[in-house]
Amino acid sequence: MPDLQKLYDAVLSGDRNTAVAVTQEAIATGGDPLELISKYMVPAMDEVGRLFECEEYFVPELLLSARAMKGSLELLRPLLAARGAQPVGRVVIGTVKGDLHDIGKNLVASLLEGGGFEVIDFGADVAPEKFIAAVQEKGANIVALSALLTVTMPAMRTTIDALKQAGVRERIKVMVGGAPVTEQFAAEIGADGYSDNASAAVTLARRLTATAVRP
């Protein structure tokens, strides 16, 4: 078994090649995929989030750590699936209509994957109908909306209203985020949860799935 601390360090420093190599070695020597994720990668990403909060890390560092984590996850996911492990939940995520900012949304999507969620990422400028379709056809049980412009924040409300209209609002949980979004705004538009960073978004999604219908 390789020194798994190296996996932690590789994710923290955004070294994808090392993350992948250590993961391969761990798999070859019978390492437990779940343990690799929960004991090494998730704590590393939490630390990355902390360094971002205190402005030691910036967006490029975040992206590189997420990349390293994803590289390792790609190897582990088939193993988890073969064991019949179910995703914690199925999230459909996107930046709302009219808004093209996607850096924060992408990070949230990566961390949710790291946290064991199946993630359907629709990208940016996503119309309400697409979210509705994902709930109806793909069985998503969490809808995650991002907005970076105060101009497009009303589209979050419109999307939630459209989910209600389509009769699927009761089946799912809605979480919202993005720099200008606030807890108060989230409550006002009837979202189930808000968080201001990607690590907290995973905790939030876990809490929400605990009370949501399973996929």
Partner: protein, 244 residues
Amino acid sequence: MRLMLISCEVLFREMCDAAARSPHQVDVEFLPKGLHDLGGKGMAVEMQRRIDAVPAGKYDAILLGYGLCGNGLHGISARHTMLVLPRAHDCIALLMGSREKHQQYFDEHPGTYYRSTGWLERGKGLQQLTHVTTGIDVTLDQMIEKYGEDNGRYLHEELTRYRSAYTRLTYIATGLEADSRFEEEARWEAAERGWEFERLAGNLVLVHRLVSGDWGGGDFVIAQPGERFRASYDDSIVRIEERA
């Protein structure tokens, strides 16, 4: 009246024009465009610091050449002087002349990147601070130098992907340009990125009304000393916080 105008430098030409034509005596301070890249909270801290530095009793009002700017003006107040802020999401609305026009144009033209003289000459893209913090507009060579070949290429690809998500570049012409250089540069940029180019005639009525003291009709929010601005999350954009 004696007025103090604190404005984002992105509106430099527009504000100078308005100050020159104002019936009032206007002192002007421009703050860096890069402030807005700090995000709402960081920007608000800096805005508050600049407002606090204005001496008490010297001015009849402090004018803010801003919009809500991603909550950068949320929570702002002045201790001793009245504050005047246009109801606008950001500078794009100030260049278009009204928040309604801005909203309408925005809704009808998704995937648009906006340019104006200030957006072209005052720090290209979101350069000033952003390129350290988000990596936007950092060249491939710089990325590779800092993060190595593999990661550098990856970052460059990730952080330039937005260019293919946009479809249009709209240049807002205000009539204050000395010659056609700005429009030509904007056209060149659109062609370079493969975006459609549109020239939109700007309207500086909000800018002029701000600086000439014409604050009626619901287009401006006025905060009396001690009152705070709040994001309203509706068509009014900004309101005054109720006192506890």
